[in-house]
Symmetry: C2
């Protein structure tokens, strides 16, 4: 599983803390997601995708090992 949260965030010029607050999780959760330290729930993925106004698939991509 890889994601482009870092990129989307750069485009919108938003901090990890901003995104965290917008989707209702802790800043560390966003940081860990960007570092691929774990896989989010589909609820969180949907909220992040909705925030960036893109489909889930545009931000979260399956890899072979998934």
């Amino acid at each position: 599983m890889k994601n482009t949260i870092h990129v989307e965030r750069a485009i919108k010029r938003i901090t990890q803390a901003d995104l965290a607050e917008a989707v209702g999780v802790s800043r560390q959760t966003i940081n860990a997601l960007e570092a691929s330290k774990y896989v989010p729930s589909v609820v969180l993925a949907l909220k992040i995708a909705r925030y960036f106004d893109k489909p889930v698939e545009a931000i979260f991509e399956l890899e072979k090992e998934d």
Copy 2:
């Protein structure tokens, strides 16, 4: 969080066990998802969506309480 796995499965006329095997989880996991007993990871959601050839958003929908 609600999902339409049951419906998609009915359209394709597949059993819970078939879907489970196709996406690499146990049959009980699919059963529990259909019963909304829990929220899947985005990896599992992506696999299910891909299996049904639809976007994640077409199968998994956020509700107010999410």
